[in-house]
Symmetry: C2
Subunit: 412 residues, 2 copies
């Protein structure tokens, strides 16, 4: 049993819209043992869509297709599929009621063109879309299955999670492909590779993949087999070996983010946190508050983007700013102490730096970042240098500051 | 002249890593008149890579390939391509010096395995990588060109922008495909479609695409032709018609973000801004400070995630919180006035809401958000209701708050 993934839309083919759907679906299919054999992007032309459907139906058993189900005139996927399967469109009152209720919830009247989304091919199965107005559709002919879903990722995911995943799993030949990812930060890809030489010796090449980004390197282990439990046990064994070799540069596993890990450490240790941000401009606070329940340990932040606010809101001495500059260990330490004291938390995390592209000097170049952490036992500071564009420097800095906090929490 | 885009890596095929490279490259190729005929993802197996290279070389003229150039054992693209073109790997001192200097800049010693990245196929052209350690490579055989670039998007983009784009443009048949995008927010896809009925009448279907996300709907106009100036003039004409029909729901064009637009309005009007965030937890500040030069008009923010900080740092009355709750127009207004007064800016923007998934009630459900804007002439407040997951609600809320500020600035 093999699957194809088809993404429809000129905006995908021309690259104007990033295709996130096919990676989500490939990943999900992998977990239920259905390998993806074909990945195709096609534009909004009926002929091209029709041809691609036929090719995919000939080469694979299950076709998952996203895009082209919206209310506007460029959305033609449903019509093409209905024609290919010899079905006619009919009106479905339940779908219309659902669409109406979504607009009503937001206090907006339903535009007339949304009515077309309640027209569905007879004999195609309707897949409920809890997140939007376009329902999913399942077409069947013999053992071949074609599934249409909207291109909006949130809606596609909701339909997939609804009942589709379970049903596809029941069809799968049950050869499982399981993965485990260890997430590292603060160490380069090549430095990891050196430490893992004894681990990689004799290991099949396809098992370990290095996935580097500017905020860290993910290490992905992949194994396949018939018994999911056995694969998972082997993955666990391999991951423990890597953990022994790498130590605390590994901050999490699989979908765990740095903010999630830091959050659970704060919760475990019953400590509260406040932050003072300059160069990251709120990104650290944003990441911390992406975690549901973060209000239990996170009180808030002062984003002191200007020097005046560093003095006024955080109590940084004007002498410190004058003598050492806004980007200095001295300033970072006063920011951390200031936010901890004034906002009243157990820990205060501060960061100041030069995100660029302007503002750098020979002595203090773009990418120079200083972090400080104030706690009941005193204050520590750390200087880092990052390369890249403004957004990259912000993201690298936020990750490094959260990692500094994590390493502190691991020891206290 | 046609192009293929090949992305290499098990992590891409299995969906574990999102492929952003192929959309970037397709977009860039479109602007220089080279259409993409083939998009393929392939895993880290020498046989598969070799087959895919051959297929792409047979069907298209230019192959852009990303991934598999790293220092680790799973990176084999360079070797496969060298073998296919009958070339041998040789050591390049200039590349090694560049790699060493990158590590030195960050104060880290170069791991030994990075040395392998300085081995390049003789007769292949080396493309300088200013952002990383793996150089790009250009192979030529007759009129066919194969280009290898690293999979890290920042590095691939730097190599492409370096000199590659210009060179490919010189080769292109010069049939231009130009695009213009109008960006809207605060209006649904179907409501836009209703307003654009007179515009779409008689318009070829492929010209206008609706690209909805939870923070707005982008309207993409695409035209092709031989004369880039003529296409652009026609695009401008069409965009003006859309602007007339839609009015101020359009906030920007092409790559313009809401924060960029708001930033230039603040600059133009010589006004300073501070923000007070609760439910968005720093996301508004983060977005504002993504704009280089934002320190000219943005002083900072108070992220008052807890009610205590709303009182202590923003001066919200405890009575207001008790009587109306943290998510209320009354609280939002006091937050906006508080941050404006205490941090000393012309404008104060505040937001409070329930990002979920917990914390909602019948009267105040998850997704309820209240925004307020305080200025010299008084304070306005606005209530919105969003649907979706926590991160979506944060993003929708931040966009709506920035849009409220934009609409205010347009009038003042």
């Amino acid at each position: 049993m093999k699957a194809s993934i088809i993404t429809i839309g000129n905006e995908i083919l021309s690259g104007m819209t990033l295709d996130t759907n096919s990676s989500f679906l490939a990943r999900e299919l992998g977990t239920i043992g259905i390998p993806v054999a074909l990945k195709i992007s096609v534009g909004d032309r009926a002929d091209d869509i029709n041809k691609t459907f036929k090719q995919a139906l000939a080469q694979t058993d299950i076709i998952l297709c996203t895009g082209g189900l919206g209310p506007t005139s460029d959305d033609i996927t449903k019509k093409v599929a209905a024609k290919l399967f010899g079905l006619k469109l009919k009106f479905d009152k339940k779908i219309l009621d659902h669409i109406r209720s979504r607009f009503a919830k937001r206090g907006i009247e339903m535009p007339a063109c949304n009515r077309g989304q309640a027209m569905v091919p007879d004999k195609a199965e309707v897949l409920f879309n809890p997140e939007g107005t376009a329902p999913g559709l399942l077409f069947k002919k013999g053992k071949k299955i074609l599934i249409l879903m909207p291109g909006v990722p949130r809606e596609m995911k909701a339909i997939f999670a609804g009942s589709l995943k379970e049903r596809l799993e029941a069809l799968s030949c049950r050869m499982k492909i399981n993965m485990l990812t260890l997430r590292t930060t603060g160490i380069s890809e090549s430095a990891i590779a050196e430490k893992l030489i004894p681990f990689e010796k004799g290991l099949a090449k396809s098992i370990l993949a290095y996935l580097p980004t500017h905020i860290g390197v993910d290490l992905r282990l992949t194994l396949s087999g018939k018994n999911s439990g056995q694969i998972d046990a082997k993955l666990l064994e391999l991951s423990l070996k890597i953990k022994q070799l790498l130590g605390p540069v590994i901050y999490g596993q699989d979908e765990e983010t740095m903010e999630l890990i830091v959050g659970s450490l704060l919760k475990d240790k019953k400590l509260t946190l406040t932050t003072a941000e300059s160069c990251t401009g709120g990104l650290i606070a944003d990441r911390i508050t992406n975690v549901s329940g973060s209000s239990d340990y996170y009180l808030g932040s002062i984003i002191a983007y200007s020097n005046i606010l560093k003095e006024k809101m955080l109590g940084v001495k004007s002498q410190t700013l004058r003598l050492h500059g806004a980007v200095s260990k001295e300033t970072a330490i006063e920011m951390a102490k200031g936010v901890r004291g004034r906002l009243g938390s157990d820990l205060g995390l501060a960061i100041t730096g030069i995100a660029g592209p302007t503002g750098g000097t020979d002595k203090k170049p773009v990418g120079l970042v200083v972090m400080a952490l104030a706690g009941p036992k005193g204050t520590v500071a750390l200087e880092k240098r990052f390369l890249g564009q403004r957004r990259h420097i912000k993201e690298s800095s936020a990750q490094a500051a959260l990692n500094m906090l994590r390493l502190y929490l691991l020891k206290c």
